[in-house]
């Protein structure tokens, strides 16, 4: 790229997500990236690094700290930072939904801002999908373990075969309009002793 390299500061307590975002930005040809995980002394870091764009994950309460820093920096006539572009609520919506907040230092070209933000949002979405997928797999595994234990309890208590025990669970789930795993959880909670 013929553009002078943009300085990007990433504030994220989640190292895995920061790494994914960093990788995406590097693929997009942006190499001047600094990651900080603590906001202690952040103002000094911002002054020293003088970044063009700052990213912060929206789960981080320290987002309010950043806002004040920009209030302060305005009063000492440093560049104003803002949350993307004034009129573009769609971009803001996409950013919020993906969980990424961007503070763009005033004076940066608008089309560049959009490209960087799109990259960031895309990678945050990838990360969130991976996390959701991981949670889903984890939950499935937990559900299967619960159902196995509930079956075992039923087989022992009511002298049922494995397939009959499963049929009991499935019927109860259908009757009560609940998930089989939820029925299994109640059975384990009320009848099963911790192992």
């Amino acid at each position: 790229m013929g553009e002078p390299s943009l300085r990007i500061l990433l504030v994220d307590q989640n190292a895995a997500r920061a790494a994914i975002l960093e990788e995406g930005l590097r693929e997009a040809g942006l190499h001047d990236i600094t990651i900080v995980r603590e906001t202690q002394g952040l103002l000094r870091r911002i002054v020293d690094l003088d970044p063009d764009v700052i990213f912060i994950d929206l789960e981080n309460p320290n987002r309010d700290v950043l806002e004040q820093m920009f209030q302060v920096s305005r009063s000492v006539r440093r560049p104003i930072a803002m949350f993307v572009d004034h009129a573009d609520t769609e971009t803001i919506r996409a950013a919020i939904e993906s969980g990424v907040g961007a503070y763009v230092v005033d004076g940066l070209r608008k089309d560049l801002v959009k490209t960087i933000l799109d990259t960031a949002v895309g990678h945050f979405n990838t990360f969130n999908r991976m996390r959701d997928e991981l949670e889903r797999v984890h939950r499935q595994l937990e559900d299967r373990k619960l159902i196995e234990r509930a079956k075992g309890i039923l087989m022992k208590e009511r002298a049922l075969s494995e397939s009959d025990a499963y049929a009991v669970l499935r019927k109860a789930a259908m009757n009560e309009n609940r998930r089989i795993a939820d029925i299994a959880r109640s059975i384990v909670a009320t009848m099963g002793l911790p192992k």
Binding site: P61, E67, Q71, I92, I96, G101
Partner: protein, 389 residues
């Protein structure tokens, strides 16, 4: 009204004054008004504002000055927000580290003393520090640092008002920094800050942890002072008037329920849940009962009207509150005075909507939109006389 409940999504921050939003859901006041209330816990005021602006939230637990700042477009996007309902009065306090408290005591502060006494003691501590710093040539030593929760907040303005009234320049003599409430106690323990102004339960958490001492409730600085509001987009309010009115009635009934001491134990228990405030029920109960221990191992001090849910017209959106916030924004250089702003500021607080919504309840509602606001230093903010731009 249609039979299917109307869904309303409301964002909140885990602080004591989200009480009547939570009670509106948990005690069934919202359902009785035909509303299905979905509450979403948030981590920062900036997130609350942004999600309100892009429509993730229909309404939100909001800092009163934030509604004014967003309407004027200070520090962020200019999106007109309105405040048709106040979520109680008071609930804030100023807490200092035990080390600073010791210094203040040596200069005449006493536990539970009036704000003038406490402030004068702090001023003497600060002057002595500045003198010894310049004498020893330690000019680069950092001044006392106070934390507050957001630039556009009652906490920021109350702290500044108190400091300035006792002769401390809040921009030169001390350093003010924003720290989110859940991090304040740790920051004080680590010595990063010497004091803070925040809502409950965080002052009590600092006291219970043996980290800080409560210097004064801010209701001693400004009796019946405002705090959070219910905020929503002006355009949403216009398009959803019946829904908004139903929500205000539910919140009003919830506020009356929250005010009744007979319900405080239940309310404290309800709010203590991890999906709401996630703090010990006994600390929340103490704040609701206006009886806080000011120092570790001290007996609870009675602080009359420390946190008020509904009495004293606590849910009424006084336009004079919005005007005072705007006057502070000008006083502390957050915005330049402009005559065009005056009307926008007034239109942010909406007693007209409050009256319209509550009319079917036949309850007493203030007939005026403004009132003089009285402060501990005997000064009065008279909106009619003192608010000309």
């Amino acid at each position: 009204m249609s039979s299917a409940p109307a869904k309303i999504t409301v964002g909140f921050i885990p602080l004591l004054d989200c009480a009547c939003i939570v009670a509106a859901l948990e005690q069934g006041f919202a359902r009785a008004e035909g509303l299905e209330l979905a509450l979403v816990r948030e981590t920062s005021w900036a997130n609350i504002r942004d999600r309100l602006i892009v429509g993730h939230f229909d309404a939100a637990h909001l800092l009163g000055p934030m509604a004014v700042a967003s309407t004027l477009g200070i520090g962020h996007l200019q999106v007109p927000l309105i405040a048709p309902f106040a979520l109680g009065l008071g609930g804030n306090a100023i807490t200092v580290s035990n080390a600073l408290w010791q210094e203040m005591r040596n200069e005449g502060a006493t536990l539970g003393g009036p704000p003038q006494m406490q402030g004068s003691a702090l001023a003497r501590v600060i002057r002595a520090r500045l003198r010894s710093m310049s004498r020893d040539g330690r000019g680069d030593e950092s001044p006392l640092t106070f934390g507050m929760v957001y630039p556009f907040s009652c906490h920021n303005y109350e702290l500044r008002y108190w400091l300035a009234a006792v002769g401390i320049d809040p921009d030169r003599d001390v350093r003010l920094v924003v720290i989110p409430p859940p991090f304040l106690v740790d920051a004080m323990r680590a010595g990063q800050i010497d004091g803070f102004c925040v809502g409950e339960p965080w002052n009590s958490v600092a006291v219970a942890a043996g980290v800080g001492t409560i210097v004064t409730p801010t209701t001693a600085i400004w009796p019946h002072s405002p705090e959070k509001v219910l905020g929503c987009r002006a355009s949403w309010a216009q398009e959803n008037a019946p829904k908004l009115d139903a929500l205000l009635r539910a919140l009003y009934r919830a506020a009356v329920w929250c005010d009744d001491p007979a319900n405080h134990a239940d309310l404290a228990h309800m709010l203590a849940a991890s999906r709401y405030i996630d703090a010990p029920a006994e600390l929340l109960h103490a704040a609701l009962a206006n009886a806080l221990p000011l120092a570790r191992d001290a007996a609870p001090a009675m602080l009359p009207d420390f946190f008020v849910s509904s009495r004293h017209a606590a849910t009424f959106p006084w336009v004079s509150h919005a005007m005072w916030f705007h006057a502070q924004m000008i006083r502390w250089g957050q915005i330049q005075p402009a005559p065009a702003h005056a009307l926008a500021v007034r239109n942010t607080y909406r007693p007209d909507i409050y009256r319209r919504a509550l009319a079917p309840l036949r309850v007493d509602v203030p007939a005026y939109d403004m009132k003089p606001e009285r402060f501990f230093d005997d000064s009065v903010f008279d909106p009619a006389a003192d608010y000309s731009l």
